[in-house]
């Protein structure tokens, strides 16, 4: 391939060059202790070698909390919140997180477009980076290898001496204008594709598996371990459910309509008017969450709606693994197939 080479020493000047043009958001460990995307004020604070951020870049387009409108009770008037483009460079994004954003684009563009998300999403520039899969990443099983550059403007492939910088779009190329500390690169970059975790089957087969797993005992078994804290939902880069609340001020004169992320693992999520909760059991909620990743949307799009980032597993306080659940469903399905064939044969005999 043809590309550019960025040495280790030139990384900080590269980030500063980006930050001189536009706001940059990048992984940082100083603000929260965990890896989180933050605005770059000092290029030295950027962490490029990391496993995964607690929340993906989704948070910039679908914030954890936002005010939708403000109203006045005395004259019954309201004003919608002005939504602005995020208009920034997202640096050091792992490709599963960008794939998740592309999936959210699908969810929010179709049927009933989600204007706030789409508005914020315009003009975002993505500079990706390769990563070394840990024991929880399984992106390759859902079709995303660590060097997949789909959707990026620039991509940094890690090498021993620095990075091979791949230019993918015109906006990416423009970001490099006036930056001298890169050289031509000709050849191959080292590919790191060793995933420790993987699913036993591709989506084409999972479609069959999930069509036959609704009554699998695993949902009840897993529900016995689960505390229903919702961590899996809230850290998932493809989860997008939210709740809307009205908050009136103590003066009773004005208030705001706010929304915050919600999750299908939380008991109150399916509470409807009158107090009915139609997914009252943890087992049913667990099944619903996994079906949202591999069946309900996937049957329409043909793709898994999981990007293999491993967040729901590594952050789960009870240690429940999505890979283990899916693989158990696959092996149970396979066993059932063998049994069915056996029965067929005995009938034919």
């Amino acid at each position: 391939m043809k590309g550019m080479f960025l040495s280790k020493e030139s990384v900080v000047p590269f980030i500063e060059h980006l930050a001189s043009q536009q706001k940059v958001f990048a992984p940082n460990k100083k603000v929260h202790g965990s890896i989180t995307f933050e605005e770059v004020n000092d290029a030295n604070d950027v962490v490029l070698n990391y496993a995964r951020a607690l929340l993906s870049v989704k948070k910039y387009f679908l914030p954890q909390r936002e005010t939708l409108l403000k109203y006045k009770l005395d004259d019954n008037s309201f004003e919608k919140q002005e939504i602005e483009q995020v208009n920034a460079i997202f640096l050091g994004v792992h490709n599963y997180d960008l794939q998740a954003v592309l999936k959210l684009d699908y969810n929010f563009k179709n049927n009933n477009p989600e204007k706030n998300y789409l508005k914020r999403r315009e003009g975002a520039v993505f500079v990706g980076i390769s990563y070394e899969p840990d024991n929880f990443h399984f992106s390759q099983s859902v079709g995303i290898d660590p060097h997949n550059t789909n959707g990026f403007d620039l991509f940094l492939h890690k090498t021993e001496e620095g990075f091979v910088l791949e230019v993918l779009t015109k906006s990416g190329e423009k970001l490099l204008d006036g930056f001298g500390e890169i050289s031509e690169f000709q050849g191959e970059y080292p590919r790191n594709e060793n995933f420790n975790a993987s699913l036993y089957a591709p989506q084409s087969k999972l479609k069959e598996v999930f069509a036959n797993s609704y009554d699998n005992p695993i949902w009840k078994e897993m529900a016995e371990k689960c505390v229903g804290c919702g961590t899996c939902n809230l850290t998932c880069p493809t989860c997008f459910c939210f709740n809307v609340e009205d908050n009136v001020g103590i003066t009773l004169k004005d208030g705001s309509r706010d929304r915050h992320l919600d999750g299908c693992m939380l008991r109150g999520f399916t509470e409807v008017a009158g107090g009915e909760i139609f997914r009252d059991e943890l087992a049913g909620r667990m099944r619903h969450r996994i079906y949202r990743k591999f069946k309900y949307i996937s049957d329409i799009t043909g793709e898994p709606w999981c990007v293999g980032c491993g967040r729901c597993t590594i952050f789960c306080p009870a240690g429940i693994s999505i890979v283990d659940i899916v693989n158990r469903l696959v092996s149970d399905y396979d066993k059932q197939q063998v049994l069915n064939e056996g029965q067929m044969t005995s009938v034919l005999d």
């Binding site: 607690l54 529900a223 804290c229 919702g230």
Partner: protein
């Protein structure tokens, strides 16, 4: 007419009550909409009937039992204020030993002068209309509840785990720092204050409404606690008598 509001204290540290007197920015707005008619900590007046009674503390003596029934009979809406009133609170730890032993330890030779009962939440004796949780209650939640009632609506009280608020705030999980946290099973609503400042959650807002206690015990034992220690962690703010109670 402004609703008549009273505040009462039972067994507790009175911190939740005090918290309300600390509403420096909002107190004028609050009293623009409600009339405080009885509040021992703040005024001398008394009244016969109340539209809303806020009750702090747990019920732990025979005298408390009579008083809480009396207040309930004279109140349209009764709200449990803070962990002691809602869950029994810290003082419910005394329920873990025989009452006589507890009485002797505290009052020694004068113990006969102080009749005592197991410390229980208000709901063990009277109907509680709404709960404001926490040790102490948060001011924001108190304001939200008062606002909702003034508007004739049911207040929205979170019934999900503290983990939700931690994740929304991108807090690093304190389990990763070797701490034992009750967040996964404790009701949110505090904006995950303790974990946000690098501390673990001790569960002061009580358990979520449908807790999977066995799963939480497994989490705690996987982090090195014995089953007994795990159980103690969980009951710090949750008296076992809570479910069923003495209703």
């Amino acid at each position: 007419m402004k609703p008549k509001v009273a505040v009462f204290d039972f067994t507790g540290c009175e911190g939740c009550e005090l918290n309300k007197l600390n509403f420096e920015n909002e107190l004028l707005d609050i009293i623009a909409h409600i009339d405080f008619v009885e509040w021992r900590e703040a005024m001398d007046d008394k009244a016969d009937e109340y539209d809303i009674a806020f009750i702090e503390g747990s019920i732990s003596t025979p005298e408390c039992v009579d008083r809480i029934h009396d207040i309930r009979n004279r109140s349209k809406i009764l709200i449990a204020l803070g962990a002691c009133a809602v869950c029994g609170g810290m003082n419910a730890m005394k329920n873990q030993k025989p009452l006589e032993v507890a009485r002797e330890e505290v009052y020694g030779k004068d113990k006969d002068l102080f009749p005592t009962l197991p410390a229980l939440p208000l709901s063990a004796y009277v109907k509680v209309d709404f709960e404001i949780r926490g040790c102490p209650m948060t001011q924001q939640e108190f304001l939200r509840v008062v606002t909702a009632l003034l508007m004739g609506k049911n207040p929205i009280i979170p019934d999900y785990a503290v983990c939700v608020e931690c994740k929304l705030k991108e807090n690093e999980c304190v389990y990763g720092n070797g701490m034992i946290c009750m967040g996964p099973i404790t009701r949110a609503g505090c904006d995950a204050q303790c974990p946000s400042f690098g501390q673990y959650c001790i569960g002061c807002r009580g358990l979520v409404s449908h807790p999977n206690k066995e799963a939480m015990i497994e989490i705690l034992t996987n982090h090195g606690l014995s089953v007994d220690e795990a159980d103690k962690k969980m009951s710090l703010f949750n008296t076992e008598n809570r479910e069923g109670g003495l209703k």
